[in-house]
Amino acid sequence: MALENKVPPGPLSEKWTKYKSTMNLVAPNNKRRIEVIVVGTGLAGASAAATLGELGYQVKCFCFHDSPRRAHSIAAQGGINAAKNYQNDGDSVYRLFYDTIKGGDYRSREANVHRLAEASTEIIDQCVAQGVPFAREYGGLLANRSFGGVQVSRTFYARGQTGQQLLLGAYQALSRQIAKGTVKMYNRHEMLDLVKVDGKARGIIARNLLTGELERFAAHSVVLGTGGYGNVYYLSTNAMGSNVSAAWRAVRKGALMANPCFTQIHPTCIPVSGEYQSKLTLMSESLRNDGRVWVPKSVADAEAIQRGEKTALDIPEEDRDYYLERRYPAFGNLVPRDVASRAAKVACDEGKGVSKTGLAVYLDFASAIIRYGKSEALTTGISNPTEAKIKELGEEVVAKKYGNLFQMYEKITGENPYKMPMKIYPAVHYTMGGLWVDYNLETNVPGLFALGEANFSDHGANRLGASALMQGLADGYFVIPYTIGSFLANEIRTPAFSTDMPEFEQAENDVANRMEKIMNIQGDQSVESFHRRLGKIMWDHCGMSRNAEGLKEGRQKIRALREEFYRDVFVPGRADEFNPELEKALRVADFLEMGEVMILDALERNESCGGHFREEYKSEEGEAKRNDADYTHVSAWEWDDTNPILHKEALEFENVELKTRSYK
């Protein structure tokens, strides 16, 4: 299959403007007759549904939660990037584009990334107009901070709850359209299949989670904004309900899954505390603006800490290894996530971990507290402040910037991070891979679009901090409203589809059979136990570092686990009622297939790039070593029960020179 990316011709910086101005449009009178299904109400889904509704399309929008406001975008903490250059520090659309391409280790599509950087500035304008309460300076103008992998301050934020505020903005825009009747909202409805008519995406089968009933929905086009697949690892920073099912069902109907092995392990999460753990909590990357990462220089000190005989405060300054500052002087603690995560793993593998399990490093705010305290004392006119006063003032400043994060840390761990450095460890956070889409964000199934984390297009092999919110909103507010016209302009004569068509009946029967099969197993093991085991296999064999042998073994283990699942899973209750265990079982069944594709992709990609680190391919200093000659392409997988098939889209770099990524 030839993958046509449909990138428009012309110079990079003019592609999008020119394309937008010359593409086919759907006239207002026709929009009223055209129906669009949007699945998911996170930043991408909600912003898309709201904007398509504003434009006059008839939108049906779906979420599996009790309210669209609960989508997991709500939990994003740190911020959203935009090339506003309000700080006059040398930022520009080109620099944001370049940083994103480099941060992604040269595995993303230039034209998509440039468009993202262009849209970034409009997003901030839009969100402020909606009433998103971003942080502001004394003069009333918007404040910025820095995130990893960049040397400018371009991140806009609302304390540590930026995702919440942006999502509420999109949710409110969506609510306005629901009230106007342009969007019909279906809460507690989970998409369980995609319906194709004559090869085009024309509808979905969804389960009403309250009644258990299967319902059919038809439209001219289907848009998925259904997030990533990080929960394949069981333990991740994703919400418990986050799942790959909508995207995976599309793959089962012929869509391609691109770069599935590109997963992001976030360096600063609260470490695992026990076997019962159900999820991991992120500590925002913004903390690395002020926090310094370190471990003891000597293994003996680390072991004393692990045994509880010493604490961080017992280790004198000269015996600490601020390893990020040492290894990467140019970016220091603000290296990109993949680099910081691997460095933490290296330190812990050397035996220098600082928790009972040996799997944690320190994130220390002591020097930031002193620095802020001194500056605060100066500005408030306190001469000769005592050390205690400096600390007090400094803690106040830190609380203002990160208060809710420090509070969250204390609630979970029972330790006070103002007094004792935080303990952190990497955890699965985001998936750069996703459904293959062209420049229009359309998958290889005509009429099926994928937005936000659900697609693969913008972050390459590693996403920079504060870019997920940017991409979700860019896709939803500023890209899909235009590019969906490329498909719908040819559909203005297509009448509404009836859900009585045989294609719908067939799809509904397939779903019913799938559910019946799982309900009838009546085995002895819970869904949760299978999910935990799958997560362990994925983390051990396809986690922070991978090798061919381990991946092959992992694939066998997943296949065996899948077989066991279909033999011995136990789902209580009935399919025709409210049944959270059945919901979970259907999601885990899909993860059991998705995990295999991730492993296959990791095995096939014989190079290290971004979040994909193959132990066989590293430099003498232990850094990731790409193989541009053989792997400057997107790997897009077609599902097949025995042997999934690989398709390739070559990545062409016309504007950026491929270099070894260096943050030294």
Binding site: A129, Q165, A239, Q277, E528, P580
Partner: protein, 248 residues
């Protein structure tokens, strides 16, 4: 530690519910929901129906978790959602009573799960700024004093969990509604529609069957985001003044 749970079980929204007792073995580092996971795994291994409860992000921001623990929405700690409550707050042999939010406008779906779409409809009645995508001016064109933006933010941190209504003896949604009204009213962007917004959101709140506010202020105590009842006072002022001054 060994804990005794007295949990509300109710098969459907129309069924009669009752308490069931269970014993679980918990660890002090577990979150409250992880303790319930242990109970559910136990029930599933006995081929029994697990307890249905709403949860998702488990980091205190999605607003899904919604139970009443020993008489208090989200449990004994102030400013804490159920998912952030950890078992170190309990001791060996404690008995914990768990029940759903009990509010007329939040019908029970099953066990501890309630339906809160009435909150969505209150937002749909006007909890937004009417600006279409692409109509915005430059974000820095209107400076907003840092303190004012921070006050708007404080009101905007509401997670829509419904603990305020569950804590209120009248089952009132005034804290929820006023938080949104005030978030938007504080900002110049929200001013244009302010008066109309107050009226339509209050009307929708009444229509949904939420009770009146009689200044009990239990909502503020139980709100996991510690949203202030000053918002309610501001809403009341705005509502009264809007009745005399709206243009239509």
């Amino acid at each position: 530690m060994k804990l005794h749970l007295k949990i509300w079980r109710q098969k459907t929204s129309t069924a009669t519910g009752s308490y069931e007792t269970h014993t679980v073995e918990a660890d002090e580092h577990m979150s409250f929901l992880e303790m319930l996971d242990v109970l559910n795994e136990q029930l599933i291994s006995e081929k029994k129906d697990p307890v249905a409860f709403e949860h998702d992000c488990r980091e205190g921001i999605c607003g899904a978790c919604s139970m009443v623990i020993d008489g208090r929405p989200h449990g004994p700690q102030n400013g804490t959602t159920t998912c952030q409550l950890h078992m170190r707050a309990y001791k060996e042999n404690d008995t914990i009573t768990i029940e759903p939010f009990r509010v007329g406008a939040f019908p029970v779906v099953k066990d501890l799960v309630v339906e809160r779409s009435s909150f969505d409809r209150i937002i749909q009645a006007g909890g937004y700024v009417s600006v279409n995508t692409g109509q915005a001016q430059d974000a820095n064109a209107t400076p907003i004093e840092g303190g004012i933006a921070a006050e708007a933010f404080d009101a905007a941190t509401c997670i829509g969990c419904g603990a305020c209504a569950a804590a209120c003896p009248n089952g009132s949604a005034m804290l929820f509604t006023s938080a949104k009204v005030n978030h938007l009213a504080k900002l110049p962007q929200g001013q244009v529609e302010h008066k109309k917004r107050v009226q339509s959101m209050v009307a929708q709140m009444d229509k949904e069957g939420f009770g009146f506010c009689s200044n009990v202020k239990a909502c503020e105590v139980e709100c996991p985001k510690e949203i202030s009842t000053e918002n309610i006072a501001a809403l009341n002022r705005a509502y009264i003044s809007s009745m005399f001054t709206t243009s239509d």
